[in-house]
């Protein structure tokens, strides 16, 4: 999403979708995004993430949890990629085994971070989307 502040400056507003079944994590991640002026929505499982894209919504960034009921992060990521969604999808999980991270990455993630996210990690993610952010 773009808006023009004046003739010289173009202000890019990024958008993000937070996919996490844990209300505490959703609230924290959404507040982090609010504080850096990233417009965001939260959903509580992979199916809701897929459904929102089926409704036509698109996001610059998707923060995808791994363990969720109904549809987990791996299934949701695979589904979104098969739909042609090219958003940056960042896996965020407290799972630490290399095998699980590898499996998650192979589903189509652009990046993976261990939970909890902090302000520094989020900034590095946003910088990957737009170096000027």
């Amino acid at each position: 999403m773009e808006s023009q502040n004046n003739n010289q400056n173009l202000t890019i507003q990024l958008t993000a979708l937070v996919v996490d079944d844990n209300k505490v994590n959703r609230k924290i991640h959404q507040k982090m995004l609010d504080n850096v002026r990233v417009k965001n929505l939260g959903v509580k499982n992979g199916k809701e993430a897929v459904d929102i894209h089926c409704d036509g919504r698109r996001f610059d960034l998707i923060l995808m949890d791994l363990d969720m009921p109904i549809m987990n992060g791996i299934e949701a990521t695979k589904e979104l990629r098969s739909m042609g969604i090219s958003s940056m999808i960042v896996g965020v999980s407290s799972r630490c085994t290399e095998a699980e991270i590898q499996k998650f990455m192979e589903a189509g993630l652009n990046d993976y971070h261990e939970k909890p996210l902090n302000i520094a990690k989020l900034s590095s993610i946003l910088h990957m989307i737009n170096p000027n952010y």
Partner: protein, 150 residues
């Protein structure tokens, strides 16, 4: 003015003690840094969500461990949730017990799980009480006309 300064000093000391004694870790600092004028009650809101979540999960864990045939997969799922929430708000001691609890679930060690459940209830009860005291002290400072620094 002396009264406010004393209250503020007590608050700073109490806050520091929670980190020193391992109840909280840097993630709690992260939460405090997120709080701003647009959401001045953010930390209280998040911690309240954690309390609600933890109460529910501990109830589920107690029920699950009381069953004649224990569903360790379901048990592990609940512990994983509690581990995640406690880590996200910086409740370090609760988080650590959850790690041990998950190991007991993986080993299908009933005795271990029962012990871990008691431990996590104890640590949760402690951190809940400490955080409620912290928030009460913050309110006292604000009511006295002082400010709470982050």
């Amino acid at each position: 003015m002396d009264g406010i300064v004393q209250l503020q000093r007590q608050l700073v000391d109490y806050n520091a003690s929670l980190f020193h004694e391992g109840f909280l870790d840097d993630q709690f600092n992260q939460l405090q840094q997120l709080q701003d004028e647009s959401n001045p009650d953010f930390v209280v809101e998040v911690v309240t969500l954690f309390f609600e979540d933890a109460d529910r999960l501990l109830n589920e864990l107690t029920k699950a461990l009381g069953q004649p045939s224990i569903d360790f997969k379901r048990l592990d799922a609940h512990v994983h949730q509690l581990k995640g929430s406690s880590s996200s708000i910086g409740a370090q001691r609760v988080h650590r017990v959850c790690i041990s609890f998950r190991n007991s679930c993986e080993e299908q060690n009933v005795e271990g799980c029962l012990k871990n459940l008691q431990q996590v209830k104890h640590e949760y009860s402690l951190v809940k009480s400490k955080l409620e005291t912290l928030f009460r002290m913050e309110q006292q400072v604000l009511a006295a006309g002082g400010s709470v620094s982050r």
